[in-house]
Symmetry: C3
Subunit: 268 residues, 3 copies
């Protein structure tokens, strides 16, 4: 259909993304396996655009988000921060990053259709934190989940400081977001961040069955019911997003963060 084709041609131009529709399903795939599907500024913009188009596409009823290759996504590409040479650069980059991240997370908050994540492998940082805004998270048993914010001198985003305490209770959310505990797919499922775990060999086949079945449900019921589940939370999520990116922009300009990122690149 026309809508699908236009989404394809518009977003297909972004390096590292594969956006298309299949039946009743809009699909957004992070496709930068050589860089472990880390997300560049350009890719953030491409995903924002793809989520918007998927939300408006009258031919589809659900939106699927996944990665190609071994990783789901290693999160924010730290080379986004690599070209810094002066304090003025840092301030400029922090302002840019804050703006991009805020709009990125808002695109998930405001997405009107059920959001389904297929976590095909390791997920890091912002590719983990946004999962709290999904309506279904299916994981391969090769998936792992980690948010090493503190180790990098940073702070949580993706509305995780709001959604994770709600999903797994504050003690387990804090262990994950503050102390950076890495979770297996099974552990993430026990903590309600993941709905179901599949052996990697049958992951794609089994999840497709579910997605196809769900995408054939009455689309207005799906969309309106999703709106109902989120209605009381939407304002809170936007406020949380603002708080998170404000703190993160401050963190990016802190000495603690600079030291931590430098150490990261040294270890690499």
């Amino acid at each position: 259909p026309a809508a699908a084709a236009s989404a394809d041609s518009a977003s297909g131009q972004v390096n590292g993304l594969k956006v298309h529709t299949e039946g009743k399903v809009s699909r957004i795939e992070i496709n930068r396996p050589a860089k472990l599907n880390s997300i560049t500024w350009e890719m953030y913009e491409g995903i924002i655009e793809a989520l918007k188009k998927a939300g408006e596409d009258k031919s589809t009823s659900v939106t699927v988000f996944t990665g190609t290759g071994e990783y789901f996504s290693s999160g924010n590409d730290l080379s986004n921060f690599a070209k810094i040479s002066s304090p003025a650069d840092v301030a400029k980059l922090a302002a840019l990053g804050k703006d991009v991240l805020k709009r990125y997370v808002a695109a998930f908050i405001d997405h009107p259709k059920p959001l389904i994540a297929l976590v095909n492998g390791p997920a890091i940082g912002i590719s983990v934190t946004v999962l709290g805004m999904f309506d279904l998270v299916l994981a391969s048993d090769k998936a792992t989940f980690v948010t090493p914010f503190a180790a990098l001198g940073q702070s949580p985003e993706g509305c995780s400081s709001f959604t994770f305490p709600m999903i797994m209770g504050t003690p387990k959310a804090a262990e994950f977001l503050l102390f950076g505990k890495k979770l297996s797919a099974k552990e993430a499922c026990d903590r309600n961040l993941v709905n179901e775990v599949f052996p990697d060999g049958v992951f794609r086949a089994e999840t497709e069955k579910r997605i196809t079945a769900y995408s054939l449900l009455p689309p207005q019921s799906l969309q309106l019911s999703k709106g109902l589940l989120r209605s009381m939370l939407k304002d809170e999520l936007h406020k949380c997003n603002e708080r998170e990116v404000t703190l993160l922009a401050e963190r990016w300009q802190s000495q603690e963060c600079a030291n931590a990122i430098q150490n990261f690149f040294k270890r690499k």
Copy 2:
């Protein structure tokens, strides 16, 4: 005692319900096993009345809700919608249904005593969604839980769009409420919707032991402590109830819902 007798005679007249008191326990049983304990308009009114009387009964300290026969309750009796012959009928029935459901759910929100559900068998739709307002949910291992709202072109009620994300996190709540995933008693327990699962053969005997013990606790402490746990939620629950029944009344008048219910009766 007088209160118990009057509750008995007042509510005993409603077909499909059995209301009585036993020791310190008010009991409301859905008793329409030939129709899988589905709930007619008249039964909704009977339960509202029974909950009110149980709340006021000075001889009891807890309120137990269960079903007779094999089902807990198959939810809203779809024949409530079967006598429609014109668009005007639909609008009238939607207004009636909205009013009844809203008062039904409010009766659970406002119930002052600990509410205990004995889920003796399959639970469907509104008999599942109200469980989020209970203080103890004990289930037989023959119990199952399903809310096929989307498949019927409808939307969640019973405050489940508020309570379920709080109980099991949004991804698992959305899978259940949007996509209609059916849960076993064990799965419902893992998701914190059920407190404890019992082999069916000992279900009634084991749950009675617990209920008797709990009903002998100091009644004011129970009631005031329950009020405390709900105090911050009560306003939110009433707002949620209003949002849910408003959307549901719209859904009942939609073409999508008409088609879905027609298909349901065809399959029967």
Copy 3:
């Protein structure tokens, strides 16, 4: 360092407490094993002071709370209520208790650093309820968790009426806080109140490894990220604290509570 020493000498004077710092860790230990680590009015004040100092200590990044001996803490020392001889005494004691408890719970709400609980053995009443405000709860497999409020004619405190429904969903929170169900460490972990359970023999060694690693993370990131996770909850928690201690002060003056505590001392 100076801060550590001053914390030591200031709080070391309180009977039943051991307060010190070790590396990057502030430690508060309930040290009254002969009385199962129950908490006297004086100890409440000592812990409030120790939490304040730990929050201000620039040499530490996390605060650890634990018990010495077999118990974590058996909660409020009921002999706090034993010297009552007239109704005027009851009113005076209720006012005192309300004030102390409110400031005690507020000290946890406002603590700026990650709070880690090492639950080395049985935990009762207020030593359980405050756990919902911790960022990491590690338990020995000898730990148990119980809040016998109703049996004592009392009502929940420690913000548990807010945090526990969020952590484990209302049905499981109500079973625990209203009906006094006792949980094993494993059950508390399944309900997200405990992060991880360790065999008692390796409990101290294994938890020290984690605490040391976490305490070496960038301290500002830890503190600011914790603030972010709590920012939306802080006001709610203070309001909840006020509601809880107000009800509790009423309960302490009720006949139901007097009878229940009398029965408790008789059984002893």
